[in-house]
C-alpha cells in the first residue's frame, strides 16, 4: 500500500457539490484530494442534468422541424435518429466531464480514483483499481449524492424497468413507455421519448403532474402534454410491474397498462451506505445526513453536502453548499445557504421554473397574499417566437410586497426565474422588480408584468 496521502481536505464524490467544494477549497489555499469512483462531475454532468438537457434539445429541434411549416418552411424527409441523439448527449457529457478534470488540474486538486470509505474521522480509504490508497485529511467532505429509488417489490433491471441511469444510456427509444412518477425526471423523459414517437403514459400517485409546483403550472403542463398525445394518469397507485405483453405489464389501482419499458422516476435516495458513517456515529435524518448550516455533520471535522445532505436534491443547491462547506473548512465565515430561495427548474417543453411558496402554500399562512399572473400570449417576444404557452405568476405578501413565490411555465422559464432569485436574496420587494427596467422585447418582460399585476398595475393585459 502506498504511503498515506496527506491533505487539508478530502472530498468523497466529485459531483456538482464535490467538485465545486474542491475548487473553492483549493482557491482558499487548502490542499485537496477528491475521491471519485466514476468520472468527475458526478450524476449531474455524466448521467443527469447535462446529458438530459442535450436530449431535450434534440426533442426541441425535432419539434421545431416538425412545426417548420408554421414558419413557412417546408421540410420533407425528416429522419430523427434517436441513437445519434444519445451519442450526442454522451459527447456533451464527456466534454463537460473533461472540463472538470481540467479544472482539477488547474487548481492542483489530486483526483483519487476509487471508492472512498471513512475509516476514522480524518481518514479515507480508497479502493481503486491499483489497490488501496489512504488519505489523511484535516477535514473530510462527503458528497456522494443520490441514486434512483424504486417502488417496493419492483426491481430496476435497466432493461425492462429502467431508471434515469438506463434511460440516458440506452440508444433506442422504446415504442411504448410507462413513466412512473411525474416529477422533474419523469416529465423530462416523457417529453424526450414522446418527441421521438414513443407512446408515453405518465403515472402519478398524487392528484397532479409536477406535484411540487403550483397547481396552475401542473394544470397547464398536463394540458400541453395531453395535446401532444402523452397520456396522463394522476392519482394512480402502482401495485406491481411484471414481464408480459409487449414487455412489461404495470398493474395500477385503475387497471393494467402494457408497455415495452417502464421508467421508474419516483425520486432519489441519498447514497449514505458503505461510507463508514455508521461506525463513526454520523447522525442521519430521514435517510439523509444531518448537517449544520455550515454543512458540518454531527461529527466534528466531517462535512456533507448535496443530495446526501437533504432536499432539495438539486445540483445548484449542492454547489452552493459546497462553497459554504469549503469556506467553513478554510476558516472563513460563509453565509449559509438560503433554502427558501433555491430555484427549481424542469426542462420539459414548456419549461418550468419556480421559487419559494406556491399560491396555495402562501395562502395557508396568516398573511394576506397578492397574486399577479401574466400569460406569454400577451408577450410580444413570445408571440414572435411562436412559444406562447405558459405564464409567469408572482405570489407576494400584500403588506410588504415580499416576493413569496414565483412560478413560471413557458419558454426559457429557467432563465427568467433568476431576477426573482436575486430579488429575494437582496430582500427586494415587488416594487424593486417593478422599478427595474426590463428590455423590450424580451421574455423577461413577462416577469415585470406579472409583478405589476400583483400590484394591480399590469400594463399589457
Amino acid at each position: 500500500m502506498p504511503d498515506a496521502l496527506k491533505v487539508d481536505l478530502a472530498i468523497v464524490g466529485t459531483g456538482p457539490g464535490g467538485y465545486v467544494a474542491a475548487i473553492r477549497a483549493a482557491q482558499l489555499g487548502l490542499t485537496v484530494a477528491a475521491v471519485e469512483d466514476d468520472r468527475p462531475g458526478g450524476v449531474c454532468l455524466n448521467w443527469g442534468c447535462i446529458p438530459t438537457k442535450a436530449l431535450l434539445r434534440n426533442a426541441e429541434v425535432l419539434s421545431l422541424v416538425n412545426h417548420a411549416s408554421d414558419f413557412g418552411i417546408h421540410v420533407s424527409g425528416v429522419e430523427a435518429d434517436y441513437a445519434e441523439a444519445v451519442r450526442r448527449s454522451r459527447r456533451v457529457a464527456d466534454r463537460m466531464a473533461k472540463g472538470v478534470e481540467f479544472l482539477f488540474r488547474k487548481n492542483r486538486i489530486t483526483l483519487v480514483p476509487g471508492r472512498g470509505t471513512l475509516t476514522s474521522r480524518g481518514t479515507v480509504e480508497v479502493a481503486g483499481q491499483d489497490g488501496l490508497q489512504t488519505i489523511e485529511a484535516r477535514a473530510v467532505l462527503l458528497a456522494t449524492g443520490s441514486e434512483p429509488k424504486s417502488l417496493p417489490g419492483i426491481a430496476i433491471d435497466e432493461r425492462r424497468v429502467i431508471s434515469s441511469n438506463g434511460a440516458v444510456r440506452q440508444e433506442r427509444a422504446p415504442r411504448s413507455l410507462v413513466v412512473i412518477g411525474a416529477g422533474a425526471v419523469g416529465v423530462e423523459f416523457a417529453d424526450v421519448y414522446a418527441a421521438y414517437g414513443t407512446r408515453v403514459t405518465l403515472l402519478e400517485v398524487l392528484p397532479r403532474v409536477v406535484p411540487i409546483e403550483d397547481e396552475e403550472v401542473s394544470a397547464l403542463l398536463a394540458r400541453v402534454f395531453s395535446s401532444r398525445g402523452i397520456e396522463i394518469k394522476t392519482g394512480a397507485r402502482v401495485a406491481g410491474v411484471r414481464p408480459g405483453g409487449a414487455g412489461v405489464i404495470v398493474e395500477t389501482d385503475g387497471g393494467k397498462l402494457e408497455a415495452e419499458q417502464v421508467l421508474m422516476a419516483v425520486g432519489r435516495a441519498a447514497k449514505v451506505r458503505g461510507l463508514g458513517l455508521e461506525a463513526l456515529g454520523v447522525a442521519l435524518d430521514r435517510g439523509f445526513v444531518k448537517v449544520s448550516p455550515l454543512m458540518e455533520t454531527s461529527v466534528t471535522g466531517l462535512y456533507a453536502i448535496g443530495d446526501m445532505a437533504g432536499p432539495p436534491l438539486l445540483a445548484h443547491k449542492a454547489m452552493a453548499e459546497g462553497v459554504v462547506a469549503a469556506e467553513a473548512i478554510a476558516g472563513r465565515t460563509p453565509r449559509p445557504v438560503d433554502y427558501t430561495s433555491v430555484p427549481s427548474c424542469t426542462y420539459c417543453r414548456p419549461q418550468i421554473a419556480s421559487l419559494g411558496l406556491t399560491e396555495a402554500k402562501a395562502r395557508e399562512g396568516k398573511r394576506e397574499v397578492s397574486v399577479g399572473k401574466f400569460p406569454f400570449t400577451a408577450s410580444g417576444k413570445a408571440v414572435a417566437l411562436g412559444e406562447t404557452e405558459g405564464f409567469v405568476k408572482v405570489v407576494a405578501d400584500t403588506a410588504t410586497g415580499e416576493i413569496l413565490g414565483v412560478h413560471i411555465v413557458g419558454p426559457e422559464a429557467t432563465e427568467i426565474i433568476h431576477e426573482f432569485a436575486v430579488g429575494r436574496t437582496l430582500e427586494g420587494t415587488l416594487e424593486e422588480i417593478v422599478h427595474t427596467i426590463h428590455a423590450h422585447p424580451t421574455l423577461s418582460e413577462a416577469a415585470l408584468e406579472a409583478t405589476l399585476a400583483a400590484l394591480g398595475q399590469a400594463i399589457h393585459i
Binding site: 403588506a399 410588504t400 437582496l426 430582500e427 427586494g428 420587494t429 416594487e431 424593486e432
Partner: protein, 421 residues
C-alpha cells in the same frame, strides 16, 4: 416669479422633524430672499429659517408648536396674483399625516431652507408607501427594502439596529428580532400620584442622543488610550495670557482645543472617518466641542480649528457655547466635526472615556486639572496634572497611532509656547 415652496429644512444630519416655534412673517407679508421667515426647533437647537426667493407669504401650513417631517411643505411664497392651488392641493392637510405623503424628492441636505418650486408647478408625486419614504428621508441606513417595510410597519427604528447582512446591511431577520425583543416604546406617561416614579418624555435632544449613541457604541469598535499631562506650564502660560489687557480670556479648554487641532495636523490618521470601503482622512480639523446643557449635550463645531489662534479659538468657542445654551446655533455649526473634545474638568472628574460621534474617528475625554504630589528629581513636589482619554475607532486607527497623537497633545501642552507659534 415662480411659486416658492417653503419646506421644513433639514438643519442637521440627524434631523427628521422640526417644530415650528413661531412665524416672523405673517400671511400677506412681503418677503425678500434672506429675510428670516420663522424659527424652527430641531433636535439640537432653535434655528432661524431664511427665505429664498421673493414674493408674498401667501399661505402658512404649519402653526406654531406643530411638528413636521423634514421636507414637508410648511408655507408658500408667491406673488399675490399667482395661482397656488396646485401646490396647496399637493400638500398634506395636516401635519400629522405629513409623513405618509412626504414627497419622495424631499431635499436630503438642506442648507437652503426654502427651495424654489419646480416649474411648472407639478402635482406632488403619487404617495409612496410610508416605509420607502421614511427610509429615504432617514438617509444613510443600510437596509434591505423588505427590512425597511417591515420596520415601518412594526414601528422599529432602523437606526437602532445593527445589521447582520453583508457589510452590516440590515435585513429582515434583524428587524424581526428587534421587533420582538423591544416592542416599540410606549408613549411616555406623566407622573401619576401614588406611583413611585415618573416617566419624563424625551426632549428632542435626549431622543437623538438615545438613538445616536448606541449606533456609535455598538458598531464602532472603541478602544481607549489614557495619558497624564503635566499642566503646570500651560497653567502659567494661561495666567500670563489672561493678565494681558484687551485680550480675550483663554480657558484650559481653549489650550486643549488648540493642542488637538495642531496634533491632528501632525497625525492625519486620527482626523479620519471610517467609510466602509475606505477611510476618509480630513485635511482640516473641525473640532466638535461638547457643551453640557440641562436637557442634554450638544457638540457645536469649531470649523478650521487648525488655522485659528488661541485668541480666535477662545472667542469663537465661547460664542458657540453661548449660542448652544440659548439654542441659537446655525445648521453648519451642528455637524461636520472631524474630531471632538468632551471636557468634564469643571465637574471634578478625574478621568473618563467618551463615546465617539460617528463618522468621527476619535474623541478626547478631558478630566480636571488637579494639584497632586509628583516626583521632582529625587523628592516630591506639587504639580498640576490632567488626565485625558482618547476613544478611537479601531477600524480607522490602531493603539499606537492614538498613543502617538496623545504624545503630541501632551508635548504641546507641556511645552505650551508651541501653542503660540
Amino acid at each position: 416669479m415662480a411659486v416658492s415652496r417653503v419646506v421644513m429644512p433639514k438643519l442637521s444630519e440627524a434631523m427628521e422633524t422640526g417644530k415650528l416655534i413661531k412665524w416672523l412673517k405673517g400671511e400677506g407679508d412681503r418677503v425678500n430672499g434672506g429675510d428670516i421667515l420663522a424659527e424652527v426647533e430641531t433636535d439640537k437647537a432653535d434655528v432661524e429659517m431664511e427665505a429664498f426667493g421673493a414674493g408674498v407669504l401667501r399661505k402658512v401650513l404649519l402653526q406654531p408648536g406643530e411638528q413636521a417631517p423634514v421636507g414637508t411643505l410648511i408655507a408658500v411664497i408667491a406673488e399675490p396674483d399667482e395661482d397656488i392651488s396646485a401646490v396647496l392641493a399637493a400638500a398634506p392637510s395636516t401635519p400629522a399625516t405629513a409623513a405618509a405623503v412626504l414627497p419622495r424628492s424631499a431635499p436630503a441636505v438642506a442648507p437652503r431652507p426654502v427651495a424654489p418650486a419646480p416649474r411648472p408647478v407639478a402635482p406632488a408625486p403619487a404617495p409612496q408607501p410610508v416605509a420607502a419614504v421614511a427610509a429615504a428621508s432617514r438617509g444613510r441606513v443600510k437596509a434591505s427594502p423588505l427590512a425597511k417595510k417591515i420596520a415601518a410597519q412594526s414601528g422599529v427604528d432602523l437606526r437602532l439596529i445593527q445589521g447582520s447582512g453583508p457589510g452590516g446591511r440590515i435585513v429582515r431577520r434583524d428587524v424581526e428580532a428587534a421587533a420582538t425583543a423591544a416592542p416599540a416604546a410606549a408613549p411616555a406617561r406623566a407622573a401619576t400620584p401614588g406611583v413611585g416614579y415618573e416617566d419624563r418624555p424625551l426632549t428632542p435632544m435626549r431622543a437623538i442622543i438615545a438613538r445616536q449613541m448606541p449606533l456609535s457604541k455598538a458598531p464602532v469598535p472603541h478602544f481607549y488610550v489614557t495619558s497624564e499631562i503635566a499642566m503646570d506650564r500651560a497653567w502659567d502660560l494661561r495666567e500670563a495670557l489672561n493678565a494681558l489687557e484687551g485680550q480675550p480670556k483663554i480657558s484650559v479648554n481653549d489650550l486643549i482645543v488648540r493642542a488637538c487641532a495642531l496634533a491632528l495636523l501632525e497625525h492625519p490618521g486620527v482626523n479620519a472617518s471610517f467609510r466602509g470601503e475606505s477611510i476618509r482622512v480630513h485635511h482640516r480639523a473641525h473640532l466638535g466641542i461638547a457643551v453640557a446643557l440641562d436637557e442634554g449635550l450638544i457638540t457645536p463645531v469649531l470649523r478650521d480649528a487648525d488655522g485659528k489662534s488661541l485668541a480666535q479659538i477662545a472667542v469663537e468657542s465661547r460664542e458657540l457655547a453661548e449660542r448652544a445654551r440659548h439654542r441659537k446655533l446655525r445648521a453648519t455649526e451642528l455637524s461636520g466635526a472631524t474630531f471632538s473634545i468632551s471636557n468634564l474638568g469643571m465637574l471634578d472628574v478625574d478621568e473618563f472615556s467618551a463615546i465617539i460621534n460617528p463618522p468621527e474617528g476619535a474623541i478626547l475625554a478631558v478630566g480636571s486639572v488637579r494639584r497632586i504630589p509628583v516626583v521632582v528629581g529625587d523628592g516630591l513636589g506639587v504639580g498640576r496634572r490632567m488626565r485625558v482619554t482618547l476613544s478611537c475607532d479601531h477600524r480607522v486607527m490602531d493603539g499606537a497611532m492614538g498613543a502617538r497623537f496623545l504624545q503630541s497633545v501632551k508635548r504641546l501642552l507641556e511645552e505650551p509656547l508651541r501653542l503660540l507659534v
